[in-house]
Symmetry: C3
Subunit: 251 residues, 3 copies
């Protein structure tokens, strides 16, 4: 539906806007992922915040341009914080993303993720095991259409669909799976893109294409997952239109 | 009791099994250590999870192959989570490891660590100050025998004993002490080894030998503790039988 | 008031004392910043601890040589922990530092920061937006004098003043703003310096000068914020008198 060069250009435009506008992205995310997610957002040009305190999350969400809800920890405090953040953020009709981490391992988390779908995330970013647990075996297109959301399914290839349009992104590197919080960081980048790009399908595809291209650049110089984790942040920070156009593998 | 080459080969076998089976290791650990521990486990080929939520930790522990109990934070929520994780994991008679971080600084933590000894950890991984606080001055061999556990005492040299057998590992590098959570990550590697190696003494010695050898490889190219923290993850990821055999200093 | 070479020498002296005495610095800080802060303290030669558990924080504070109160997360548990830590630490008349992160985004946090000023932090380390929220538009000198504290205001240039003396430090690199927790880590270094240098103004200026010089050294080899985050830790670890004297830009 989009030629590689077209999506590469749109991704470059999105990056340019993130760097110029510096959107504030508030992340309700797990403690494992907080530091890496914050550093990836900073590398993209966004401004991260991470508090989950019920006493102040509404204030942070009210002044944020993007919101990530990551279920990597599932407890009463975070559920309350998520509810408050969504109420504030949703009142402003701003788009948010859901990352239902590891819901296949925890029935309570899976149930909560299904409840959150009713709050209409603009994008759901997840892997195949999580998608199966969330959708009960529907196809990504069917689930996206029924839930009126964008499914951003990451793995060897990334698939981004709104039920009608579909982008398959074959960029990235296997080392991305050997760094904790890489998926969480990708979801946060989707939120930064949603803050500057009104087409949520395009925002999600742009963010994941950019991350995949950064991963390929990083893999060239990494000696393993430790140096790769830093190198992909460097690569995202330095990503430009030429690299996106030269490397995009989109169908 | 084991010649260096013999332990090096057994450590290589253990690594091969971790990479092939990809054991799930659930870590109840402190927030300082979570990211680094997760990345070290991923570099080893294991699959980390980290939630401490009382609402779901039993589900995670039930589907885990390894369990780490790290006392780096001591509060009511974590104590409850530890109890639930041990109940679930222990019902399956699976071996777990205890890391009693900083118990010499906190009497309550030390008391809790002593109570946990009654739950029979397969391995206790700790430094000298922590061991003195836990054992009240007993020798490692005596404590291991009395408590029917493996003592894995790390420092300039690492000592691993079940009261009868004893391995002294002289690998490693001083920079390992300048990276936060290195000990915690070592304990998590012990858990990954316990998931694939039924002899707990051998599992602990294999994991610590592998980490020490990775540390030596990393130190050759590191310019300080920042680059070392990444380089040891790279080195663990790429560790092979030849490096283990060529570098093992075990007596 | 201090020539660059004079402050460079005093900073080198401070570093030497930190490395020799290895002060214990307890940090009540947010979960995003914990790992990076701990690694920076270790690179400096200090011994970090991070628990916020109400059951043990008094024990940790009682045996600490330095204390950081960082408001990066604002909830009831942390407020209670801060109160206990200050009571214990303050009873010993030891100097502590306040880092009022993001108080411009959260009225409750700002109010709490103002209350903490009455507990007399030796140093307040913050950026311009945070200082404006805390001081209500006073000048740094006026605020420092009125509150009997040291204001350490970081940004393109760092300003350290007690109301009478003033150091302006023009070291550092823009990449420092692209790494999460860099400011928090700087505040922790101030605490390590306070533990070994009785002149709080000098301690704060020494710590920030050393971090700025380390940042310049790191920027020479970094390829982006990912590698820079490691490189500045390497540089701080290796920092010596010659580098401080050769690079200090103080007026």
């Amino acid at each position: 539906m989009h030629a590689p060069l077209e999506l590469a250009d749109l991704a470059a435009d999105t990056l340019t806007r993130i760097r110029a506008r510096r959107p504030r992205v508030h992340c309700v995310t797990n403690t494992v992922a907080q530091q890496y997610t914050a550093n990836m957002l900073l590398a993209a040009g966004a401004v991260p915040s991470m508090t989950i305190s019920p006493e102040e999350i509404a204030a942070f969400a009210a002044s944020a341009d993007g919101l990530l809800v990551n279920l990597g920890t599932f407890d009463a405090e975070r559920r309350a914080a998520i509810g408050m953040a969504l109420a504030t953020f949703g009142d402003n009709k701003k788009p948010w993303a859901l990352d239902p981490v590891f819901i296949e391992r925890s029935p309570g988390r899976a149930q909560f993720a299904r409840e959150l779908m009713a709050r209409r995330p603009a994008v759901v970013r997840l892997n195949q095991a999580e998608f199966t647990a969330l959708s009960g075996g529907q196809s990504p297109e069917h689930f996206a259409k029924e839930q009126r959301t964008i499914v951003a399914l990451t793995g060897d290839h990334d698939l981004v669909t709104d039920g009608e349009r579909r982008a398959t992104i074959a960029n990235g590197d296997p080392l991305m799976g050997a760094v904790t919080a890489m998926g969480c960081a990708g979801s946060a980048l989707v939120c930064a893109a949603l803050a500057v790009e009104p087409d949520a399908w395009l925002a999600a595809a742009a963010a994941l294409l950019a991350l995949g291209v950064a991963g390929e650049i990083a893999a060239k110089e990494a000696r393993g997952p430790g140096s790769f984790a830093s190198a992909i942040i460097d690569a995202f920070y330095g990503l430009d239109r030429a690299a996106l156009r030269g490397r995009a593998k989109v169908s």
